[in-house]
Symmetry: C2
DNA sequence: TACGATATGGGGGCCCACTCCGTTTGTCAA
DNA sequence: TTGACAAACGGAGTGGGCCCCCATATCGTA
């Protein structure tokens, strides 16, 4: 979708595509990742067939909705990869949790991206995963985290926490702190 | 539903009730908590109106489906409350995670029970919560866990972990271990 | 301006949750 | 045993969601 390799699309195609993504962003922010696709199409002023022609699945639509936010996170990870490995990783997990807790539908979308994915490694999940891999590697290299910690496990944990605390950043961060510090003194 | 205070129900009512719960248990185990209620009714050989007359909501049906398993957990918590507070709590969390990871639909049902609840404090969620409160209190009393650990946070974490790892006990336990031990050495 | 490729959208098929209402069934008293 | 009534049932109906087909409209270009 919106594939640049596909060559120039007709102007109405582009216009509808943008309207759909913008409308979806608004409705997902209001109602979560499960909004009715019909409602998105209605609100965007297009037929439901058009929506399905532009996006093969709900997940494909969500990928475009969250692309910008995820790119922002990617850049942030780049910055953090220049500093102290330990605080870099912790800060990354905290900011990722913040973004996930404040962005309705993002946790569900990231988690869904982990299961059935385009193999091109360019989904939102893949981007976040790659950033996490880098930061975890750096932390492991200086023994700032336990050796058995894997990036995927960490991601799964953050996704799990932000899914059940969607829209409640305070609880999300309390739980994250618990995970980082462990239960026992 | 199945309220003993409601007096004797007709025999066909009881028969259909049991068939519905049994069928629901089988289909939820096979397909998860989101099975079609229509299918449950069909499979049980009753009209869909009957299902809705017996259970006001999907959650009400799930509560009965998981009641036995949750009662078993409650008894187990009672045993664990007699031993060492620290291993008691850890064992409890591990067995709770095992049950949640192996019982399709249970994590979703427990989590849903935390939100909109009958005020009678007798839902599956309430039972598990009460058990957790007791075990956490005992652990706190001997400083076996950090003082800021709350039973609700722990429960939310276990629910979060078992929801995203439904049907994958290995990952569930790896994540739980991460939570118990913390990330940093 | 006229044409062909591209894109559209209404409407249909299918499934789901939930409700209405005429019919059946269980129970209990006579 | 029978009759009557409350209790319970089930099928059909409503409204919604997802997804697709195909007749129609629109865009870009020669």
């Amino acid at each position: 979708m919106a594939n640049p390799k596909a060559g120039p699309q007709r102007s109405d195609w582009q216009r509808n595509h943008e309207r759909l993504v913008a409308t979806a962003a608004a409705l997902v922010a209001r109602d979560g990742a499960q909004v009715s696709l019909e409602e998105i199409a209605r609100e965007a002023g297009v037929g439901s067939a058009t929506l399905h022609r532009h996006f093969a699945s709900r997940q494909a639509l969500l990928e475009e909705v969250f692309r910008d936010e995820v790119e922002r996170l990617r850049r942030r990870a780049g910055e953090l990869a220049g500093g102290d490995p330990r605080t870099g990783l912790v800060t990354w997990l905290e900011e990722l949790t913040t973004a996930a807790a404040n962005t309705r539908g993002l946790p569900a979308s990231l988690a869904a991206g982990a299961d059935v994915d385009a193999p091109d490694g360019d989904t939102c999940h893949d981007i976040v995963r790659e950033a996490t891999v880098v930061l975890v590697s750096r932390a492991l290299a200086v023994a700032a985290v336990r050796p058995e910690v894997s990036p995927d496990d960490l991601l799964t944990l953050v996704e799990a926490v932000s899914r059940v605390t969607e829209g409640d950043p305070l609880t999300a961060h309390r739980l994250l702190r618990l995970v980082l510090d462990g239960i026992c003194p």
